[in-house]
């Protein structure tokens, strides 16, 4: 009995390894991205090998999860979606009630490791929206839009309250993209955007003072040279001094001399820009664009509405990471905690991103058969 279980497990493992059901172009692009990330980390982290090895181990874990997820058919994801959504929302409530962590209470201590439920939401959110829209008539009407709005607002509100504005933004963007891809009428989008614009003063009212400060600081970095203004000024100096061709690998002075704070996490892209210049930036952005494009391609080929919306939303939310982090480093957007995917040091976000790509691989493997 045990033997058969073990044999079946080994057979499963062998199948995963020998015949991976992955989309090769996407896999290669991700691999390239991870390599670029490790290289930048090596330089930004002052040649601290343990930092690089730790990150590589997370990438390896993420890779394994991609292989595992790619074997799970999308229908299984779909059936589990409501439970996953409810589960991760409950976890967010638990964190809100008894969370720990300094300043921002977003961690849940599981004893062996600390776990961030909002990270889970980045994936379950587009799943839930896709699940809801899947059996419905598309393009969605106001009623469905309202329901989707509520599905997005509840977890996003809980995350924003932690307070983790960056993740709240990513989560709601993922949900919104699914809605956009479902074909929500342009005039409705326009009306909604206008309404959101009208809500900005209200949102300002409910923001934490430090969040307001960040936005004000972005508009005038010199007003806070000890805090966030310092980040922005130093980051821009790093980027600008890189020039077209960059100072060369390991030649960035801004981070080396510790002028640049958080230079292995949120501001690592500044180190990259300083060392590889505009050429490096463009190359990396092209790689990101390719990955997003490939995701949308996989989405278009998908078998059903659920898979389509999910794959598309995952791909498009990848763009939000790149845009928000890249904009923040270049002083275009306020300082929020959004990492540069696969480049920034940090465990949970890298792993959860790769799990998302695992779902994409599964959707690709179960794509529509062309007639």
């Amino acid at each position: 009995m045990i033997d058969t279980v073990r044999t079946r497990f080994y057979r499963f493992l062998r199948r995963i390894l020998t015949r991976p059901r992955v989309d090769l172009p996407l896999a290669v692009a991700l691999l390239a991205l991870c390599c670029a990330g490790l290289m930048t980390l090596y330089s930004a982290g002052d040649r601290n090998l343990s930092l690089v090895i730790g990150q590589a181990a997370r990438f390896a874990l993420g890779g394994a999860l991609i292989l595992l997820m790619s074997r799970v058919p999308p229908s299984v994801f779909r059936n589990w979606t409501p439970w996953l959504y409810i589960g991760s929302t409950m976890l967010l409530v638990v964190v809100a009630v008894l969370g720990e962590g300094r300043g921002a209470d977003r961690w849940l201590n599981l004893g062996i490791m600390r776990f961030q439920p909002s990270e889970l939401m980045k994936l379950t959110m587009p799943m839930m929206v896709a699940w809801y829209l899947h059996p419905r008539q598309l393009p969605p009407g106001w009623k469905d839009i309202a329901v989707v709005g509520a599905l997005i607002a509840i977890p996003a509100g809980l995350i924003a309250k932690q307070p983790d504005l960056g993740t709240a933004l990513l989560v709601s963007a993922a949900g919104a993209f699914a809605l956009f891809l479902s074909g929500m009428a342009w005039w409705r989008i326009g009306m909604l955007l206008a309404a959101v614009g009208g809500m900005i003063p209200v949102a300002w009212h409910f923001m934490h003072q430090y969040q307001r400060d960040r936005i004000l600081t972005m508009l005038n970095p010199e007003s806070d040279p000890l805090g966030n203004g310092w980040h922005i000024i130093q980051s821009q100096i790093a980027v600008g001094s890189g020039g077209v061709f960059g100072k060369g690998f390991e030649q960035g002075t801004q981070s080396r001399l510790d002028f640049l704070p958080e230079h292995t996490t949120d501001f690592i892209f500044a180190v990259f820009s300083e060392e590889f210049g505009l050429v490096g930036v463009c190359a990396l952005l092209v790689l990101y664009a390719f990955i997003i494009g490939r995701c949308l391609w996989i989405a278009m080929e998908a078998r059903d509405t659920y898979s389509r919306l999910l794959a598309g939303a995952i791909g498009m939310s990848f763009f939000v990471y790149v845009f928000v982090n890249g904009g923040m480093v270049a002083g275009l957007l306020p300082v929020v905690g959004v990492p540069m995917p696969m480049i920034s040091y940090g465990g949970t976000s890298a792993v959860s991103l790769l799990v998302g790509f695992g779902v994409l691989m599964s959707i690709h493997a179960n794509r529509k058969v062309h007639d």
């Binding site: 300094r102 059996p135 419905r136 008539q137 598309l138 393009p139 993209f177 956009f180 891809l181 479902s182 074909g183 040279p225 000890l226 805090g227 310092w230 821009q236 100096i237 790093a238 980027v239 600008g240 001094s241 890189g242 020039g243 077209v244 002075t253 801004q254 001399l257 510790d258 002028f259 704070p261 820009s273 210049g277 505009l278 930036v281 463009c282 952005l285 990101y288 664009a289 997003i292 494009g293 949308l296 989405a299 278009m300 509405t305 389509r308 919306l309 598309g312 498009m316 763009f319 790149v322 845009f323 890249g326 904009g327 270049a330 002083g331 275009l332």
Partner: protein, 669 residues
């Protein structure tokens, strides 16, 4: 249902797919646009403004430096300085300019002595600051240190002597328990504090007001932009954003009252608290013995610390807030008031004191002060003579539930809410309390009886008793005691802090208040042969009427219920705790005090004079009549004949054998 089917029927898979394809393509186009905008921004920074940023990168020698705010000063109510900032020097290290930190520290230790605490705090802070921010290494350098370092300075790039302000407490031990002290920010503090606000700050309020009012005292750091040379020395200050200094505090305590109170103890361990019943302002708060808070500011030496912690009379403990003592007879006015307010007694109702009181149906006797009793007493005489029997019977009639509810409304059994840290709640006996903390958990009538004379489980802090008597004196209007009366921005006038009553008056009928008040005045002025305050003449020569009550609580449970014939003062002092509570003017009270003397033989005779001295000095601080000088008569120890009716002191009331509380009694009403 039909609607649902219609919806299903309309689901156009192929159309949806086409719609999705269009949306995905549009989305991708928008994404490319967004990435294009990003590239535009990078072109702007890296191509168009490259020269400018490249220059700034090369000359990145402008560094911000935090300027810590000056800590707010602390004054007494008349502006006497209690906590000051004085200039001193410390060693600071800029990490990025030190190539081999450990080697440098080892070398530096040969020049300037560094102890382990300095090094631990330094290493911890080193990890949490940016490498160009300087980290303090050793505080309060001596002239010698500075001179020796100055000679060797060239050997230690990145290490510098920096002037700063350090805390000093000019009155030292007198306010140690109130003002508290600041001390070095340690590794645990660093985990907790907001690094933005504590940038450049080295000390934090550790105890007392320094701790409670940390946020107000601290202020907000400023910064300056310095142009630094290659070796990190400041060449030029480009810009200064000055820090916002912390607010100054004004205490309601008068340093003169505080000092006179402390001196009245003559070094004997104890505590005293005076409160203005009209607003809850603390007028004096003394704990004897005390310690010098200045020792703690820059790290106390191990020898000093051991001396303080191992001293038998525990000078570090603030007895006013953390000392718990059985209240003894000081609670009798409150018990009497409970009887009136619940309608169980009128002031004229009498009880016969025969010297011993029995719970109906029980053989155990609860003794009175005076062998043979004092005869028939009403409320006034019961308070004046501190007649146990009256209160035994009254508390039995009231029952423990009404008793503890009533006493709870005067703040017994919970912190008073004074604006100082570490206050303990004491114990107010009740069924619930016993069920939670004791075995057996059930309540016995004998425990109700002794609660009536402030013995048994009951424990109070001096602050609690002062709060209770002040609440009574203030016609029942409860205020949380407040030590800080006002705060002031630097250069501005003190702004009073509001302290509204915590609730409506707890007195139901002003006549009850008057009756108990009259009884308490008889304690001071009564002529009854058994009057507790008679021989002491506590009211003599004072321009206002005083109301008071003594208390003499037993430190140990008695092992037998025989009268103790030993009247030797020293012997009793070792066994008793002497209490005195008082307020004046009796009809319109402006000050209420509670005094405990740990080794006092008798409440009225030993603690009473301390209370009187407090009232005397308080009077001199009030505008208006100042009374003529009137030295207090020191009483000779009473001859050991306890039957003498001349001066029966307020006798201890721990009349219960130790075993009593654990013996179940069967006649629970």
């Amino acid at each position: 249902m039909a609607k649902l089917i219609r919806r299903r029927a309309f689901k156009d898979t192929r159309g949806e797919q086409e719609l999705f394809r269009r949306r995905a393509l549009t989305g991708f186009a928008l994404i490319l646009l967004g990435l294009g905008a990003l590239v535009g921004r990078y072109v702007f920074l890296q191509v168009l403004h490259h020269d400018e940023f490249a220059t700034r990168s090369v000359n990145n020698s402008v560094k911000p430096r935090a300027i810590p705010p000056a800590r707010g000063l602390i004054y007494d109510r008349n502006g006497v300085l209690l906590a000051d900032n004085v200039p001193a020097f410390r060693l600071e290290v800029v990490p990025e300019q030190v190539s081999h930190m450990e080697a440098m520290l080892a070398e530096l230790a040969k020049v300037v002595p560094l102890d382990q605490d300095d090094l631990d705090a330094f290493r911890k802070q080193l990890k949490q600051t940016r490498r160009f921010d300087s980290v303090p290494l050793k505080m309060r350098l001596t002239e010698d240190d500075i001179a020796r370092f100055a000679v060797n300075r060239w050997r230690f790039p990145g290490v510098d002597v920096v002037p700063y302000l350090t805390r000093q407490y000019p009155l030292g031990p007198l306010f140690a328990n109130v003002v508290g002290y600041v001390s070095r920010i340690d590794a645990d503090d660093l985990d907790r504090l907001d690094p933005e606000i504590y940038k450049g700050t080295t000390h934090i309020g550790r105890t007392g007001l320094e701790r409670t009012y940390e946020d107000i005292l601290h202020g907000k750091p400023g910064y300056e932009l310095d142009e630094v040379s290659a070796d990190g020395r400041i060449q030029r200050v480009l810009k200064i954003d000055p820090p916002v200094p912390g607010k100054n505090l004004y205490l309601s305590i008068d340093a003169r009252v505080q000092k006179a109170t402390q001196e009245a103890f003559e070094g004997r361990p104890g505590a005293a608290v005076a409160i203005d019943p009209r607003n809850g302002q603390v007028l004096a708060m003394v704990s004897v013995p005390s310690f010098d808070p200045n020792l703690f500011v820059n790290g106390i030496s191990l020898t000093d610390y051991t001396a303080l912690t191992s001293a038998a009379d525990k000078p570090l403990i603030d007895r006013a807030l953390k000392g718990v003592y059985p209240p003894g007879s000081t609670v009798k006015p409150f018990i009497g008031l409970a009887g009136l307010e619940y309608g169980v007694r009128t002031p004229q109702d009498t009880v016969v004191s025969t010297g011993v009181f029995y719970i109906p149906g029980q053989a155990r006797g609860y003794r009175d002060d005076v062998r043979g009793g004092v005869g028939t007493v009403n409320l006034y005489r019961a308070i004046e003579d501190s007649v146990n029997t009256y209160f035994y019977k009254l508390s039995l009639d009231l029952g423990i539930d009404r008793l503890s509810e009533f006493l709870g409304s005067y703040g017994f059994g919970r912190p008073t809410g004074v604006d100082l840290p570490g206050e303990v709640s004491g114990i107010l006996p009740s069924r619930e309390w016993k069920a939670k903390h004791m075995k057996p958990a059930s309540w016995f009538p004998g425990e109700t009886v002794i609660t009536g004379i402030g013995q048994g489980y009951w424990l109070v802090t001096p602050m609690q008793l002062a709060h209770a008597i002040a609440t009574f004196a203030g016609h029942g209007v409860p205020y949380a005691p407040r030590v800080v009366m006002a705060t002031a921005d630097v250069g501005a006038k003190p702004a009073p802090l509001a302290n509204p009553p915590t609730g409506p008056s707890v007195i139901k009928n002003i006549k009850d208040w008057q009756a108990v008040n009259d009884g308490m005045q008889l304690v001071i002025y009564g002529s009854d042969p058994f009057s507790t305050g008679k021989g002491v003449k506590l009211g003599e020569g004072f321009p206002y009427r005083i109301a008071g009550k003594s208390g003499t609580a037993e430190r140990f449970s008695r092992t037998s219920d025989a009268y103790n014939e030993n009247r030797n003062t020293a012997y009793l002092a070792a066994r008793h705790r002497a209490w005195f509570e008082a307020f004046t003017p009796a009809e319109d009270p402006r000050i209420a005090v509670a005094v405990v003397l740990e080794a006092g033989a008798w409440g009225a005779k030993d603690a009473g004079p301390i209370a009187r001295k407090m009232l005397d000095i308080w009077l001199t601080t009030q505008s208006g009549t100042v009374p003529a000088d009137h030295p207090l008569q020191e009483m000779e120890p009473t001859p050991s004949s306890s039957t003498s009716p001349n001066a029966p002191e307020d006798t201890p009331q721990g009349d219960m054998p130790a075993s009593d509380t654990s013996s179940p009694e069967n006649s629970t009403p």
